[in-house]
């Protein structure tokens, strides 16, 4: 498998009729699961993360990129354009968490969390849409969190960054509708990933108690909602937010 400055990439045809999916934060957790899910479904998957990956997957192209950096995002979307000539789906999964009292949150942490969670989603959505609009078709799915509607103490910054993602997505849905591009949001419950490793168990339990269905989420739960948003029959579904677990 050739390895380039863009990261790992597998052998592929340069132009394909297969749908092309871009997934941010694909190195691990939900992002990696989604990469495997859509590659298994026969799609061409372009993923990114700030660090190189230590795994390989047929049908998967990895780009080392920081979604908070505009040049990185342009380079990321250019890979989809150059290698496949199209982009059908963009999934803004990359996210960082911050668990801290609002009064103790450093300014650098605000920049870091807003940078990845909101600025990153906005930049990737913008550049992805530019490519999608050429074919008058596209699906953008952004990830939020149940921490937004649940107003979880200690997650003010994280929830605010994801709340921004929700508002941005709902307005973007209106701006991009004329170009045949839908924009929707899925808000997962806590899932057993690195993102929540630092969250105390009692805090997680209190969140679960507020859900209608009181269990941790699974990667499959997230993929199921994204599958719905990106299917061709969902062309009339845009600007929607689906929170998991009955929140």
């Amino acid at each position: 498998m050739p390895v380039t400055e863009d990261g790992h990439r597998d052998a592929r045809s340069t132009r394909s009729d297969k749908p092309v999916v871009l997934i941010t934060g694909a190195r691990r957790g939900i992002g990696r699961y989604l990469a495997e899910h859509y590659a298994r479904a026969g799609m061409c998957v372009v993923g990114c993360s700030r660090e190189p990956i230590d795994w390989q997957l047929e049908g998967y192209t990895h780009v080392v990129a920081d979604v908070a950096q505009e040049d990185d995002v342009k380079r990321l979307v250019a890979v989809a354009q150059r290698e496949f000539g199209r982009l059908d789906v963009a999934i803004n999964n990359a996210g960082v968490a911050s668990m801290n009292a609002a009064l103790l949150t450093p300014a650098d942490t605000i920049d870091r969390v807003m940078g990845t969670n909101f600025r990153g989603a906005a930049l990737v959505s913008r550049e992805a849409a530019k490519l999608m609009m050429r074919r008058k078709h596209g699906r953008i799915v952004n990830l939020s969190t149940v921490a937004v509607p649940l107003r979880v103490e200690g997650e003010a910054l994280y929830a605010a960054s994801k709340s921004a993602v929700v508002t941005y997505s709902q307005i973007l849905a209106r701006e991009l509708a004329p170009y045949g591009i839908t924009v929707n949001v899925v808000g997962p419950t806590p899932i057993d990933t690195d993102l929540i490793r630092s969250v105390p168990a009692d805090k997680i339990q209190r969140i679960l108690e507020q859900q209608a269905i009181k269990r941790l989420g699974r990667f499959e739960d997230v993929a199921n909602v994204i599958d719905f948003f990106i299917r061709p029959e969902s062309e009339f579904v845009t600007g929607q937010v689906i929170y998991l677990g009955g929140v």
Binding site: E70, D71, K74, K130, M133, P178, Y179
Partner: protein
């Protein structure tokens, strides 16, 4: 070798023809650097103008092999929009290309 203004004007006109807004045929298909893109006599509505800017950005990026962002804060804050005519857009693109070449 630097990029000539005529080259940029041609690029913009090509992109307008690619999009082929309905108003173009209504006005006899003639295009020059004096053609209004936006506003009362313009060829495009706001949606069409966005599509044109995106296409021209891509065309410029292909020319210089680097991202060029036309819709930046400076463009949006100018009292006379750089998107009002083909020529005005070409002038603004040349300004950005010149800055790119110097950086």
């Amino acid at each position: 070798m630097g990029i000539e203004r005529e080259q940029v004007v041609s690029l913009i006109i090509d992109k307008v023809r690619d999009i082929d807004p309905p108003a173009l045929a209504e006005r006899g298909n003639g295009l020059s650097e004096h053609t209004a893109l936006f506003g009362k006599e313009g060829l495009f509505d706001s949606l069409g103008l966005v599509a044109l800017i995106v296409d021209v950005e891509q065309g410029l990026a292909d020319l210089v092999d680097a991202p060029i962002t036309l819709g930046d804060d400076r463009a949006m804050s100018q009292s006379r929009s750089p998107f009002r005519t083909v020529g005005a857009l070409a002038d603004y693109a040349m300004l950005l290309l010149d800055e790119h070449a110097r950086n």
